[in-house]
């Protein structure tokens, strides 16, 4: 059991509400997973570079050319709420 792992706090960072039952259950289940990954601590990685992804390619860019893409209407088609052709968002300033 990792005493520093706190599901309630971490869920806050992830902007994810959880019920009390979920918090208790995930605390137990994920503590078990964290215990399992403890085994990585025995590997000597002092001289090893990190791998971010499998292929050694960096800074891939394409020409910044305009092209056809969504119309405003298409971009809004899946929005749960829209107002006057804009995404509707909750009020964020008092």
């Amino acid at each position: 059991m990792n005493p520093e792992f706190d599901v309630r706090y971490t869920a806050g960072l992830a902007r994810l509400h959880l019920s009390e039952e979920e918090i208790a259950k995930f605390q137990a289940q994920l503590s078990q997973v964290l215990e399992y990954v403890e085994k990585l601590k025995v590997v000597d990685v002092s001289k090893v570079e990190a791998t971010a992804h499998a292929n050694p390619v960096f800074n891939v860019v394409r020409e910044d050319d305009p092209r056809d893409w969504f119309t405003a209407q298409e971009a809004l088609a899946n929005a749960p709420r829209q107002v006057n052709g804009l995404f509707s968002v909750p009020k964020v300033i008092e």
Binding site: Q29, E49, A75
Partner: protein, 483 residues
């Protein structure tokens, strides 16, 4: 033999000789789905009229002309739902085609049907879908594997000629093994991920589910290649993947990783795989014992890296641009928190929490950075092994399909189901699962999968090696009796 039990290559021959029309192929599938999908529950949605319309104008001389293909519900097809098996995306209609879909369409194929999956591709049993439990066609009380369980089940049940799925830690190969079909995970960067809803971006690849190795090559021919819309797709040439099929295995060296044959595997699976290895020897291949010394760390590395990437990728579900939005919220934090609480299922929540934790301040170095370094060692294991052998041979899954509900509330046990497939994604190499026998469990035959792992961008060789085994055995011809 009914029309829907044909392979893609066999269907093509019939389409080109005009013995069968694309419309008849789509109609035959629709009747087959109507007859058996009530038992299998592989399809989440399908648009028969739309597929018929495409069939009417299909050019059968194109590489996949007139061939209907089922699509995992995580790949965008313009104008069709793309729920990712999640309530979060209920009602979402894809506004564009994924690159694999535009390539399939350009090759004359007909995307037909959205098939079930674990929510956001997180799972090994398809039980994490918010919509349906898909059943294994070989035993309806068992899981089809996951996350692409729908893709595997519909191909195995002859409800599809072929399907596309995605593989982040085994999500193509494991369900293919458990349902008795062929599943290919291409090398990282071989197939564009544009339009694939992201789970773990450094691991995800799209690949085909088929009834034969040749069909796998036919689909890979179409979906491979550099795409300017996916900066991780590589500029490697795309050969004709069928070109080496039928070549003999003289001089081919296959590596048996000793860490994959240490016990813990179901005895019937172990035996089927060892028999397959002997069969390869009889085909002229040389079997070499190799070592992948960091194998025991792969599951741990995976569940740090994949959850970290998932927690970042799934941050986009904020209830604003698309997807579920909570009814009322007093403030912005409540809006996010409730939207995500209501939209995501338990496994997705677990992984978001774990991924957020391993990336959080104070833990990043201990977990995420360390996992990335051990990932380097896992990759180096494969690089060294491929200096000695042409491909690696091992089981796909340590066991045949388990019962529905058997471990749905035991995440750690579920994660270990992917023990033989995960390292392939971490290393970015390619892997294929093909049928190599059956385990008799409770009086029923359950398929066993053989995994072959190939060098990055050496899919041609991998397919050649797989094809030689398939064509000299009968396993791929077996079909489930659905009852």
């Amino acid at each position: 033999m009914s029309l829907t039990s044909l392979s893609v290559a066999e269907l093509q021959a019939q389409l080109r000789s005009k013995a069968v029309s694309p419309v008849e192929a789509v109609e035959a599938l629709e009747s087959r789905i109507a007859a058996v999908d009530g038992s299998i529950c592989g399809y989440l949605a399908r648009d028969f009229q739309r597929a018929l319309a495409a069939a009417k104008v299909a050019d059968v001389n194109l590489p996949l002309g007139g061939v209907p293909i089922a699509i995992k519900d995580v790949i965008n097809v313009r104008g069709e739902q793309c729920t990712c098996g999640s309530k979060m995306l209920k009602g979402y209609i894809a506004p564009y085609d994924a690159t694999v879909i535009s390539r399939l369409k350009a090759a004359g194929a007909i995307p037909f049907g959205r098939v079930n999956m674990d929510e956001f591709a997180m799972g090994s049993s398809c039980e994490n879908s918010a919509y349906a439990i898909t059943h294994n066609p070989w035993d309806l009380s068992r899981i089809p594997g996951g996350s692409s369980g729908g893709s595997a089940a519909v191909v195995a049940a002859d409800e599809a000629f072929a399907a596309l799925g995605s593989d982040t830690g085994g999500s193509i190969r494991q369900p293919a093994a458990l349902c008795g079909c062929v599943g290919l995970k291409p090398s990282y960067g071989r197939v564009s991920r544009f339009g694939l809803v992201a789970f773990a971006s450094s691991l995800d690849q799209i690949g085909p589910f088929t009834k034969t190795v040749r069909d796998s090559a036919l689909l890979l021919n179409v979906i491979s290649g550099r795409d300017p819309m996916d900066s991780t797709s590589l500029e490697e040439p795309v050969p004709d993947y069928t070109a080496q099929l039928g070549q003999d295995l003289k001089g081919v060296r296959l590596g048996m990783p000793k860490e994959y044959f240490v016990g813990g595997t179901d005895p019937q699976v172990d035996k089927a795989v060892r028999d397959a290895i002997k069969h390869y020897e009889s085909l002229g291949a040389e079997i070499v014992e190799i070592s992948l010394p960091h194998t025991e760390y792969a599951v741990g590395v995976y569940y740090i890296i994949a959850t970290a990437e998932a927690s970042a990728n799934l941050a986009r579900f904020d209830g604003v641009r698309y997807g579920h939005r909570t009814a009322e919220a007093a403030n912005i934090l409540e809006h996010y928190g409730k939207t995500r609480e209501e939209g995501f299922g338990a496994e997705v929540k677990r992984r978001i929490i774990l991924g957020t934790y391993v990336l959080s301040s104070g833990y990043y170095d201990a977990y995420y950075l360390r996992a990335q370094k051990v990932r380097t060692l896992i990759r180096q294991d494969f690089t060294s092994a491929f200096e000695k052998v042409d491909a690696i041979i091992c089981p796909t899954s340590p066991e045949p399909a388990f019962k529905i509900g058997d471990r749905s509330d035991d995440p750690m046990r579920m994660y270990l189901a992917d023990i033989f497939t995960i390292a392939v994604n971490l290393a970015g190499v390619c892997g294929i699962s093909l049928p190599c026998g059956f385990a008799q469990v409770e009086g029923r035959p359950l398929p066993v999968g053989l995994q072959l792992i190939g060098k990055p961008f050496h899919e041609s060789e991998l397919l050649k090696i797989a094809h030689a085994y398939e064509q000299s055995t009968e396993w791929h011809k077996a079909r489930p009796v659905i009852s």
